[in-house]
């Protein structure tokens, strides 16, 4: 039977948890989802590329963006990608406590990133530079906000997976899910490379 529900393991595989194809097929399926998500981001990037210079007399990126602040934000996400990778290595060595510890660090770094982004949005909106101010700011909040929403979803997923790891241990299905979570997390860091280059760095150049 090929109707493989994402939440339940195919009985054929469940009977044989070491079946090498199960986790690999799930990882490939998840990769295809990531690629379609990339198309979503491409649409938002294209919107930003068209509207990014329509200031409507409002502030430009050069006036709004604080490079050192964005650099710290970027480093938080990059370090969280690093600790996520280390968690995968610990998972490979079946070290449950190390996996939990490294995921906790990843979660904290990710929360720091989101907190900084919310802080940036809040101060911009408080200054009257919210998404309604100009087409540029609408596109800015859509693009950066879409990435932020993905990171927030990843953080919730990470908290759930920490619970599963703690309760169920590093069983084959849990390892497969943790691996897909790490794919998602690294993917978001790649999208962020595009965001900070196109939005922040090019915005400061002009």
């Amino acid at each position: 039977m090929m109707t493989n529900d994402a939440m339940t393991i195919d009985p054929a595989y469940a009977a044989e948890p070491e079946h090498p194809d199960a986790a690999e097929n799930q990882a490939f399926g998840f990769w295809l989802y990531l690629m379609s998500d990339l198309v979503l981001f491409a649409a938002i990037f294209a919107t930003y590329a068209v509207l990014g210079k329509s200031y409507a007399g409002g502030p430009t990126g050069r006036e709004l963006f604080d490079l050192p602040y964005v650099f710290v934000e970027t480093m938080l996400l990059l370090f969280s990608s690093g600790t996520c990778g280390l968690a995968m290595l610990a998972m490979h060595r079946e070290r449950k406590r190390a996996v939990l510890g490294l995921l906790a660090v990843t979660l904290l770094l990710g929360c720091g990133f989101i907190a900084m982004e919310i802080g940036e949005f809040h101060s911009m909106i408080a200054d009257g530079n919210g998404p309604q101010r100009s087409a540029f700011l609408s596109a800015f909040f859509t693009l950066v906000g879409a990435h932020g929403a993905h990171v927030a979803a990843g953080l919730i997923w990470m908290a759930i997976m920490m619970g599963q790891t703690a309760v169920k241990g590093l069983s084959a299905p849990v390892q497969s899910r943790l691996f897909r979570l790490s794919m998602f997390w690294h993917f978001l860091d790649i999208v962020w490379v595009g965001v900070f280059t196109v939005v922040y760095l090019m915005g400061v150049l002009q």
Partner: protein
């Protein structure tokens, strides 16, 4: 591939060295990109190509070291799917910029 292993879940992951190399390269490339943007004196075309160069390099480093796309037969379909998505992406973003700039120029 160099130090890549197969974990219990059947997925291929790199060794510590792969992650460490990827991480160090990413930090250096990010810092370089921010330095280029903060450097006021650089002419715009030079700064732009520097930024894009650093971004493309860093994305390739991430794909290879963190997402383990290394040309092995295991990652073949992932690479094919990625290449197809990149084609869509170029058509999508490039086409949008082209047609909108053209419209903009005609309306002036």
């Amino acid at each position: 591939m160099n130090g890549s292993q197969v974990n219990g879940a059947g997925a291929s992951i790199g060794g510590f060295k792969t992650y460490a190399t990827g991480f160090i390269f990413s930090v250096v490339l990010t810092a370089a990109a921010f330095a280029v943007a903060a450097h006021e004196a650089l002419p715009r075309p030079v700064a732009l190509s520097g930024l894009f160069g650093a971004a493309v390099l860093q994305i390739l480093v991430h794909l290879r070291c963190f997402l383990h796309l290394n040309g092995s037969s295991r990652s073949r379909w992932n690479v094919l799917a990625l290449l197809f998505t990149v084609l869509i992406l170029i058509l999508f973003v490039g086409g949008t910029i082209w047609i909108m700039n053209s419209l903009n120029a005609r309306m002036m």
